[in-house]
Amino acid sequence: MRWRKILVPLAVATALGAVVARAEEDKSAQSIEQYREALKDGNPAELYESSGEELWKKPAGPKNVSLEKCDLGLGAGVVKGAYAQLPRYFKDTDKVQDAESRVLTCMSTLQGVDVAKYVNASFGTPEKDDLNAIATYISGQSKGVPVKVSLALPKEQQMYDLGKRMFYYQGGSHDFSCATCHGEEGRRIRLQDLPALATKKGAGSAWTSWPAYRVSAGQMWGMQWRINDCFRQQRFPEPVYASDVTIALSMFMAANANGALMDTPGIKR
């Protein structure tokens, strides 16, 4: 008797608890949505966009020329819409390149800069900050443009296939792959929803929002930095900046995102 008296209210309370918990969860999700909205207007990434534009247009390097004649795939000097079609194959280098690796090529060929210093510099150093700012500027010039990455050329398809392999490649001390976190819908780390990057929806929302300003550290991150940090989180060896494997992963995401509208630069927690 006594037990029943206790158990019934307990059962009711538990059921009620579940309902309340779900309502709370919805409210939290809504509140975080509101938080993210409030950050979008006045994204500090705009400050980096400006400094990136300045770096793009300012004569520099041993040859003292600007990057304005750089061919990002749409012809020398065309920045508008270029990011939405990267990575892509470039005849002059006979390579598939993303925005950052292409900028390195232009710094080397146009400005005569020894780019090894830029490749080897740690993230957060002035060299990498410059590259991030330039990538931010370039990406901003594709805001609202649909992603249109080609896999028509054999080297482009090969790059995509390499990216796919890397995405599912499992290893390291924790036996991780990219797909462990980003392989299916509904995964999250704490409150961060993780995009399923093999799908159009997931890749579409992720690829189009980088480079992004990260409020946690007050830093501007390009996709190269993002991927580098994913490797770290997987306990993989650090990839060389702008190396094929990093470009391949971008190729995999970008091609999966085809058709989604670029929303760069983004802002993240």
Binding site: G42, P44, E46, L47, S50, V215, G218
Partner: protein, 103 residues
């Protein structure tokens, strides 16, 4: 010195909304660097905004305004073509002024 701000000002129904992004570290003085040394406080302390050379807003800030500060406020009047200028002074006496045109 200091880095350029981003200022947007738009007029609608007799009210001009001014939005400003500033480039500043806003160090609290509580943070330690990798060697364990306290990073000294360094932050914007005073902000002044003018519409056509008339002061319309002043603010005093502490170090708990976020890094790369954002500020939005509304001024009565103002029309397209009017001049907005925003200035800040930080705790080291550094200062910067930038201008924008109301749209």
């Amino acid at each position: 010195m200091g880095h350029p701000m981003k200022i947007r000002a738009s007029s609608k129904d007799g009210v001009t909304e001014i939005k400003v992004l500033m480039n500043h570290e806003m160090e609290t003085g509580f943070r330690k660097d990798s060697s364990g040394n306290v990073v000294p406080a360094w932050f914007i302390r005073e902000v002044t905004a003018k519409l056509n050379d008339k002061i319309v807003m002043t603010a005093q800030w502490g170090p708990s305004v976020s890094k790369n500060p954002y500020l939005a406020f509304k001024v009565k009047g103002g029309k397209a073509g009017d001049k907005v200028s925003v200035s800040w002074v930080d705790s080291q006496g550094d200062t910067r002024t930038d201008e924008a045109t109301v749209t």
